[in-house]
């Protein structure tokens, strides 16, 4: 074997590898495309079947409405702008409730992990509050905080607080022992250990709690509005339901779904930016 043929042989191997790699990428692109196409077809079939069944008289539009009616409703609401004040109220309640609940929950988790005595004393009380269906407290919140935004924020806080407290504690508790021993051997004080190891180490767990918490904040706010409110999308749903307007209920639910998606997206993006050190998204 001369060196010349070896070079061409290895050159050929690289060529083949490059080609198969390009092929693999193309296959993946084709697959992504077909997944999205199939999703669109499924959605179109579902909406089409719904629309058609009502047109054909198979199901009663009074109970089920119709995609075209829902689209018409949303178009109308957006054109005359009557939906926006409600969107703003619901969004504000959700964000304030989430922010307060998350801040208090993370703080409580930190305090409880720092001071085991506090944790031991507070355990039974917090457990009772946590297992209690918080929605049952809604009437009391309305009595205490009025039928305005305060009672909805309170309900959201009562849910988000526990989610974030528990995930903060889990994050601190499941931290790699090795890191703590290493940092202690490097001369870290208890305080430094906490701020430089435990808390940053708990950030991924705190974020997964936040992803859950933001959805629960929206849930709490909508439930609160449905029970008693002057404004908000939950109040709208209750109103349309009471006046037997299925397209109004379903159209508003669609708007809520959009809000939920946006909130979730914001948390996921923030997580991706803050947790760059984790490498590939999990």
């Amino acid at each position: 074997m001369t060196t010349g043929t070896e070079v061409t042989a290895s050159g050929r191997v690289l060529d083949i590898l490059e080609r198969s790699e390009a092929e693999r990428l193309a296959r993946r692109r084709r697959r992504t495309l077909s997944v999205w196409t199939t999703r669109a077809i499924v959605l179109a079939l579902f909406l089409g079947a719904w629309q058609w069944s009502v047109d054909a008289g198979l199901i009663d539009p009074f109970f089920f409405s119709q995609p075209s009616a829902i689209a018409g409703f949303l178009e109308e609401e957006i054109r005359d702008g009557s939906i926006w004040p409600h969107v703003i109220v619901t969004l504000r309640e959700t964000l304030v409730g989430f922010a307060l609940g998350a801040a208090a929950g993370v703080a409580a988790g930190i305090v409880r992990m720092q001071f085991p005595f506090v944790a031991d004393v507070s355990n039974p009380f917090l457990t009772i509050l946590n297992v209690l269906p918080r929605v049952a407290l809604a009437p009391m919140f309305i009595i205490w905080f009025g039928i305005g935004e305060g009672s909805k924020v309170a309900l959201a806080v009562s849910l988000v607080f526990f989610i974030l407290m528990l995930s903060t504690e889990a994050g601190i508790r499941t931290l790699d022992r090795e890191l703590i021993v290493t940092m202690r051997a490097l001369g870290a004080t208890d305080r430094q250990l906490f701020w430089k190891v435990m808390l940053p180490g708990a950030v991924p767990a705190i974020f997964s709690g936040m992803r859950l918490g933001v959805v629960y904040a929206l849930l709490a706010v909508v439930v609160g509005e449905m029970i008693s409110a002057q404004m908000g999308l939950g109040q709208r749903i209750a109103f349309y339901a009471a006046s037997f307007r299925a397209e109004g209920v379903l159209g508003t639910i669609l708007v809520l779904a959009m809000i939920g998606l946006v909130l979730n997206f914001v948390v996921v993006r923030a997580e991706a930016v803050l947790l760059k050190w984790k490498g590939e998204p999990t």
Partner: protein, 272 residues
């Protein structure tokens, strides 16, 4: 087996003592509430600047001695003094290294190297200059911004070495620092570590179960018996420095010393 040659290193003057282990015994509780003797009356002195290796079967208590010198553990009986002081909590003059690197995953390589200085409140500018110097020394200047997951096992362990050296400790306590590496990387890092160590000769207490590593790196090997750990042999390694762990493996004197340590270890495992 009475053929074990025991060469006791000359006792150093008191002010030249870095570590003194005096009559140390220790026991651990077993899950069923009884106590098990881990160390039985172990004593030895380490003069300043000596590289000493502790070897023995697993469970012989070698890491326990290291943890005592680090101040992570208090002996049930006896005392461990470092630089003439009893060690009650981790001292900031001592550097500690483990088999696992323990790098903080959310910090870059540079920031991990500088973390010990940060804990001591060293100003940022000074930290940065130490970080740059050490990154250069371990050959990772181009990787200062890399996170631990982006580094290979060997690179991570290099960063861990640099982190330990950054605080300029006068004593290094090392617990199988190269055990998690593959054979090739291990030899390379041992060589690099020796080169760094030979510059300023800090006192090193090095725990390992790898005999060839112990003989290749250290000035003196202490062999412990199986549990409860007692001193089986204390062997001076009179190989010249600077040493290259890769080349020394074929040196006749090295092979002879290895054989001697091996015999001591065998005798220690058979000990009553």
């Amino acid at each position: 087996m009475d053929t074990v040659l025991t060469t006791v290193a000359p006792t150093a003057a008191r002010e030249d003592l870095a570590i003194r282990v005096e009559g140390v015994s220790h026991a651990f509780p077993t899950p069923d509430g009884k106590a098990i003797l881990a160390l039985d009356d172990v004593s030895f002195d380490v003069p300043r600047g000596q590289f000493i290796a502790l070897v023995g079967a697993s469970g012989c208590g070698k890491t326990t001695i290291l943890n005592m010198a680090a101040g992570l553990l208090q002996p049930v009986a006896g005392s461990v003094t470092v630089n003439g002081e009893r060690i009650l909590r981790p001292s900031r003059r001592t550097g500690y290294m483990f088999a696992r690197d323990g790098l903080l995953p959310w910090r870059s390589a540079r920031s991990n190297i500088e973390v010990g200085l940060e804990l001591r409140g060293v100003p940022a500018a000074e930290r940065a200059s130490v970080g740059t110097r050490l990154l250069d020394m371990i050959g990772l200047s181009a990787f200062g911004h890399a996170y631990p997951w982006q580094l290979s096992q060997g690179m991570r362990q290099r960063v861990a070495i640099a982190r330990t050296l950054a605080v300029d400790p006068d004593t290094l306590l090392m617990d199988e620092p190269f055990a998690a590496l593959d054979a090739q990387t291990k030899l390379m890092l041992q060589g690099e570590f020796l080169r760094i160590w030979e510059r300023d000769r800090k006192t090193v207490l090095f725990v390992t179960h790898d005999l060839s590593e112990a003989v290749a790196l250290s000035d003196r090997v202490i062999v412990l018996t199986r549990r409860p750990g007692r001193i089986q042999a204390d062997i001076a390694i009179d190989l010249s420095r600077p040493r290259d762990p890769e080349r020394i493996r074929f040196d006749a004197r090295y092979l002879k010393l290895s054989e001697q340590v091996w015999q001591a270890l065998k005798a220690g495992e058979a000990a009553p």
